[in-house]
């Protein structure tokens, strides 16, 4: 399997803080790579560095073979990366429709693709003309997802999509991800919920203190409770 995205020895400083201390990460094409790690490990910082929202102070980021670490954020997005940030970042003053109009930058929205998205996330259709600021947390997450997939993207960066959401919504998000993946997208997914990670991840990298400390197939980590505990501080019972 070839790699769509690779980070080699990437370092990131935020202000005077040194956050990423040489991250090496490979995201194989067509697969779902999980990025796990404790709170404050640097997962969000890694995704933001890929998007160019923080600048890598050292190291190399390649996407589809070309270096992107010095390119401006809009160019990185246009190279084919969709981003679902941890904060969801829906434009609350804009309607659901307007949020998606902006996300579909190639022009008019594709009706059939929109119908496909409504299939996973019916509330987006119900609240089509409501301001996004009036949506519930779960609905905002649906909108943030929809923005990232309204046009086909080669790579999706998704940051903790299930945080604080009800099981029914998590189910809808997982269904959507599975379908997006089946259609050939590559996904880099940060997820704290180990059950979800286990369900959709192919491979996994674990971060701690700004470094990747473990990389393996997802199934391998899922089998090894002691390893999980050491890397993530999970107690098995709490996450079954």
């Amino acid at each position: 399997m070839s790699e769509l995205l690779t980070l080699s020895a990437v370092e990131t400083h935020i202000g005077r803080y040194h956050i990423l201390h040489g991250v090496d990460l490979a995201v194989p094409e067509g697969a779902t790579t999980m990025l796990l790690g404790r709170n404050g490990a640097g997962k969000t910082t890694a995704l933001r560095t890929i998007m160019g929202l923080w600048r890598a102070s050292a190291g190399e980021i390649r996407f589809g073979g070309s270096r992107i670490e010095a390119r401006p954020t809009p160019d990185i997005a246009r190279a084919g990366i969709g981003y679902v940030p941890e904060t969801m970042a829906v434009f609350s003053d804009l309607t659901v429709k307007e949020n998606l109009v902006l996300a579909a930058r190639e022009g008019a929205m594709d009706e059939s693709r929109l119908g496909w998205i409504f299939g996973f996330f019916p509330p987006l259709k119900t609240f089509w003309l409501s301001r996004a600021g009036t949506l519930s947390g779960g609905q905002k997450q649906m909108l943030s997802f929809a923005r990232a997939i309204i046009e086909p993207r080669r790579l999706l960066l998704i940051d903790e999509p299930t945080k604080g959401l009800a099981p029914a919504i998590i189910g809808a998000l997982i269904d959507c991800l599975a379908e997006v993946k089946r259609r050939g997208a590559t996904i880099l997914l940060v997820e704290q919920n180990f059950r979800v990670a286990q369900e959709i991840g192919d491979s996994v990298s674990v971060m701690d203190d700004g470094r990747i400390v473990h990389t393996s197939a997802m199934a391998e980590l899922a089998r090894d409770g002691a390893l999980q505990h050491r890397l993530l501080g999970l107690s098995l019972g709490a996450h079954q």
Binding site: P74, F91, D93, L102, P123, T126, R131, S136, G138, A168
Partner: protein, 338 residues
């Protein structure tokens, strides 16, 4: 878990936040003044207030967008007001014949040329201002204040040097002089024109902001510029465009104000800037509608107070701002998360 799944088909629609209260404020203010003044005077004061409010809105609308979208405190905005007024004066010098002609069309042609020239010049100067002064200080508020104030002072001194410190007359064209009489109330024609121009600017801005992709990008960028970039749009280009448009609007406001006072002078920009900032703050930094209401409130209040309690008129703007901020600490329609 009590989280709203939001996927039951029968679930109630979340109410779109229809926040219409601030829209009623100017009406309430006008009605509140009615018992204290004779009706014909009230009518004249109200039209004067509306006209003044529209002109201040035109000047302030650009500033509020610049602040909301780019997070730039542009104290140089006043310079564009003065420059616009001077450009109009220069253009109208050779067009004196058209201005004094009895034909309303020749009058309007002259005015229109002055306005187009003023807006074009201020837009181009705005472009240079953004490239040279603002770009190096994005994200640094203190430096922005210092450098844009510096730019303002330099512009003002240049105007002094070129045109002298004296008031320069800027006469209204023949057909816009004088007043209508409605009952006992005298309504200056030019004030009606100013109200119309202000309304056209306001409606055009709302249409652009709500109906075009550029407008959506501006509104989205006011809220979260980073996410706009992550969707693949170059927000810097938007910045430049908005800065030029905002400067051109300041130029237009300057022309309108000059014609209203029938004179221009180099310090007019600095004098108006205080008022413009008050309006932008009252409106909620970044909101065009808030800015519109804020401008009307400030101007109406000034006119009523100026008539009723002239001694208070110096501080009426500040009092209004304090009152609004006590009610809504982030302004009438806060839009940015800053």
């Amino acid at each position: 878990m009590s989280v709203d799944t939001g996927i039951e088909p029968g679930a109630a629609l979340p109410k779109a936040r229809g926040d219409y209260l601030p829209l009623l404020l100017p009406v309430a203010l006008a009605l509140a003044a009615l018992p204290f003044v004779p009706v014909s005077t009230w009518f004249t004061l109200t039209v004067a207030g509306l006209a003044m409010g529209m002109m201040i809105f035109v000047m302030a609308s650009g500033l509020t967008l610049i602040f909301g979208l780019m997070d730039v405190l542009n104290f140089g905005h006043g310079a564009f007001i003065a420059i616009g007024a001077y450009v109009a004066t220069l253009v109208l010098l050779p067009l004196g014949g058209w201005m004094q002609a009895d034909s309303i069309w020749l009058n309007l042609a002259a005015l229109l040329s002055a306005i187009v020239a003023a807006m074009a010049v201020t837009a181009v100067i705005g472009l240079a201002f953004e490239r040279i002064l603002i770009v190096p200080v994005y994200g640094q508020h203190l430096k922005q204040i210092l450098i844009t104030m510096g730019g303002m002072i330099v512009a003002e001194q240049l105007l002094y040097a070129l045109f002298g410190p004296q008031q320069i007359p800027l006469a209204l064209p023949t057909s816009l002089r004088g007043s209508f009489l409605i009952g006992d109330a005298a309504i200056e024609k030019y004030r009606v024109v100013a109200v119309l121009v202000g309304l056209v600017v306001f409606v055009t801005m709302l249409l652009i902001l709500n109906r075009t992709k550029i407008g959506l990008l501006i509104r989205a960028g006011v809220e979260n510029g980073e996410m706009v970039e992550a969707l693949g749009y170059r927000i810097r280009r938007l910045f430049v465009g908005v800065f030029m448009a905002g400067s051109a609007l300041a130029g237009l406001g300057g022309v309108m104000w000059g014609l209203y006072r029938e004179q221009v002078n180099a310090s007019m920009g600095g004098e108006l800037l205080v008022l413009v900032f008050i309006v932008v703050i009252i409106g909620g930094l970044g909101s065009v509608t808030g800015c519109f209401i804020g401008a009307l409130l400030v101007a109406l209040l000034q006119n009523y107070i100026g008539f009723l309690v002239p001694k208070l008129s110096l501080i009426s703007d500040i009092l209004l701002m304090v009152a609004v901020l006590l009610w809504r600490p982030r302004g009438l329609y806060p839009v940015t998360s800053r």
